[in-house]
């Protein structure tokens, strides 16, 4: 299945989806651009700190609702620019959690339990202020009735804990990940930090995987303890070199500061942003065509150093 077919099949309008990666690293950008290109609407997005991918999906108008912990891409955008605009204009609805709360929600989904407990957020407005209305929650069977619940510790003061926050499980319709290596059967190997990718994938009903390299033969199965996802939970595997660009992919390439700076400039102005989308996304037929537009010297500049896994001395 190619990316177009996978997105067509698993990402209908209104889908509940989550994407992997963190801020400027290993976002599944090729899949994000394909979703934008197909002008998907009304998506319900689950994000922790996924960053660039979130901002582009929101900026392109694909997203109706976001449950999120953090919208930023480091120094390039301490607050994601199109996200900020969409919230301030009321174009999207937002429900706020913390990074750990979102991680636990994915983990609960992966584990098949309705909630997980934490002490995070006790005493804060994460608990007091709810973004989604009760009507909205009741109208969508894919949403729990409550944002979260606070409960006294049923084991007294066990674990020095008097009270816990219960955060409800997330079951995305589909999770999109970009990984370094995968096999045809879906076996996936992530190198470096996994962020919350593994939990997001296991929580989802379907998983679309893009990868830098498709590995045939025995390489992945000769070291099974290095693989984070077994093939049985993956629905589609699409090899797409530079599939995380302009975000980084550890050991393969760095984020592209030039692109992200240009993006920031474009994102601050509605007309410029429309032009950006037209040229970079709608105007490119697919990932291959898009990648062909990246100047060769930029790809060279961000190529990862084998020792460190990033581009040493990159002009940032």
């Amino acid at each position: 299945m190619d990316l177009t077919a996978a997105v067509a099949r698993f990402v209908p309008d209104g889908a509940h989806l989550s994407i992997g990666g963190f801020t400027c690293n290993r976002n599944p950008m090729a899949a994000v651009y394909e979703i934008i290109r197909r002008r998907k609407k009304n998506l319900h997005l689950y994000a922790h700190s996924n960053g660039q991918g979130v901002d582009e999906l929101v900026g392109a108008g694909c997203v109706a609702r976001v449950e999120i912990a953090y919208a930023g891409t480091g120094r390039f955008a301490p607050t994601c620019i199109r996200f900020r605009r969409a919230v301030e204009t009321g174009a999207i609805q937002v429900e706020d959690y913390s990074n750990y709360q979102m991680t636990l929600r994915f983990l609960a989904g992966a584990m098949g339990v309705p909630f997980l407990p934490t002490r995070s957020g006790l005493g804060t407005d994460l608990i007091e202020k709810w973004g989604f209305s009760a009507e909205l929650r009741r109208s969508d069977p894919r949403l729990p009735d409550d944002k979260l619940r606070v409960m006294d510790n049923p084991f007294g003061t066990w674990a020095e804990t008097g009270r816990v926050v219960l955060v409800p499980a997330i079951r995305p319709d589909v999770t999109l990940l970009h990984v370094q290596k995968a096999g045809r059967d879906g076996t996936a190997r992530i190198e470096g930090l996994t962020f919350a990718d593994v939990e997001q994938a296991k929580a989802a009903r379907h998983v679309i995987l893009t990868c830098e390299e498709l590995i045939d033969g025995d390489e992945l199965r000769s070291q099974p303890h290095l693989n984070q996802l077994p093939g049985i939970i993956v629905d589609a595997v699409v090899p797409l070199p530079h599939g995380a660009y302009p975000t980084a992919c550890y050991r393969y390439y760095d984020y592209d500061p030039a692109f992200l700076n240009d993006y920031r400039t474009a994102a601050t102005d509605d007309r410029r942003y429309a032009r950006y989308l037209e040229e970079w996304v709608y105007g490119t037929a697919d990932h291959r065509a898009q990648r062909a537009r990246i100047p060769h010297e930029r790809l060279s500049a961000i190529q990862a150093d084998p020792r460190t896994g990033y581009a040493r001395g990159l002009r940032r």
């Binding site: 990666g21 963190f22 801020t23 400027c24 690293n25 700190s49 960053g51 999120i68 912990a69 953090y70 919208a71 930023g72 891409t73 480091g74 120094r75 390039f76 301490p78 900020r84 919230v87 301030e88 009321g90 706020d96 913390s98 990074n99 750990y100 709360q101 991680t103 934490t118 002490r119 995070s120 957020g121 006790l122 005493g123 804060t124 407005d125 994460l126 202020k129 674990a159 020095e160 804990t161 008097g162 009270r163 816990v164 470096g192 930090l193 996994t194 962020f195 919350a196 990718d197 593994v198 980084a248 550890y250 760095d254 984020y255 460190t308 896994g309 990033y310 040493r312 001395g313 940032r316």
Partner: protein, 264 residues
């Protein structure tokens, strides 16, 4: 004109608050500088951790976000968010962690807002949101907070309480069910503030050189006790002088100065 800028001063001041052997939770930008400086000047055995799952990273270049591949290099282990926050929520490891945080607003009890200005349902300004800040502030032994010293940022009441400080004062955290401690220091571009052990209210600990307590107060919506403040000249004692400071602070890292000048 001194041979250090305000961001460098802030990083050094925070570094001096880190004890040797502590686990330092780092966010983006200046908090990484502070943690790196601490390893050079006062806490060589401190350990830097990131919410993304990197534990004891060897930072050859300064990451521009906690998701940067630069945090992955030379770590003791690289895993993911679930593990790093569990390490902080865990009562054994968590009590060795000092978290360094920043925010858009802070109140006198050190409660932080990094979510919205205005009404949550239709905000005037939307910020990034909690990220890991609420988690860290809920779990760890203590926090150090970086702030820009402006009246609209030191506010009587935060528009949205994202990350718990001392909440409503003495006993507030216990009543809410939080185990860890709140902030022990706020470091701004003008001064260093502490929190009174009894009232849990912010007080002025020391002004940076060239700043007066009056100037500090003029840039806050609420008032703080300034009677314990050492003057700018006193604060000089813990600021490295002359050209030595840069070496001490680990300024041999290639882009320390440029990051100091530009990062948030």
């Amino acid at each position: 004109m001194p041979d250090y800028n305000a961001r460098e001063l802030m990083a050094i001041a925070a570094a001096r608050k880190i004890n040797d052997g502590e686990i330092v939770f780092c966010g983006t930008g200046i908090s990484m500088l502070a943690a790196m400086a601490a390893k050079h000047i006062c806490a060589p055995n401190s350990i830097i951790i990131f919410e993304t799952g990197a534990i004891d990273s060897q930072l050859e270049e300064i990451p521009m976000a906690v998701g940067d591949s630069r945090v992955m290099y030379g770590a003791s282990s690289n895993s993911g968010l679930a593990d790093s926050f569990a390490l902080m929520q865990n009562q054994t490891t968590g009590r060795h962690v000092v978290g360094i945080l920043g925010a858009a607003q802070i109140d006198k009890y050190g409660n932080l807002n990094s979510t919205v200005v205005g009404d949550y349902g239709r905000p005037k300004v939307r910020f990034s949101g909690s990220g890991g800040a609420a988690d860290v502030a809920s779990f760890v032994d203590r926090t150090i907070i970086f702030m820009q010293h402006e009246r609209r940022k030191f506010v009587a009441q935060v528009d949205y309480l994202t990350s718990p400080g001392w909440l409503d004062g003495p006993g507030g955290r216990e009543r809410a069910g939080l185990a860890g401690n709140g902030p022990t220091a706020v470091i701004s571009n003008l001064a260093v503030m502490g929190f009174d052990a009894g009232t849990r209210e912010m007080f002025l600990e020391a002004c940076f050189p060239g700043t007066t307590p009056q100037e500090v107060l003029a840039n806050m919506e609420f008032s703080v006790d300034v009677s314990r403040a050492s003057s700018g000249s006193c604060a000089r004692s813990w600021i490295p002088s002359g050209s030595s400071w840069a070496a001490e602070a680990g300024a041999d890292a290639p882009d320390f100065h440029s990051i100091c000048a530009s990062s948030t």
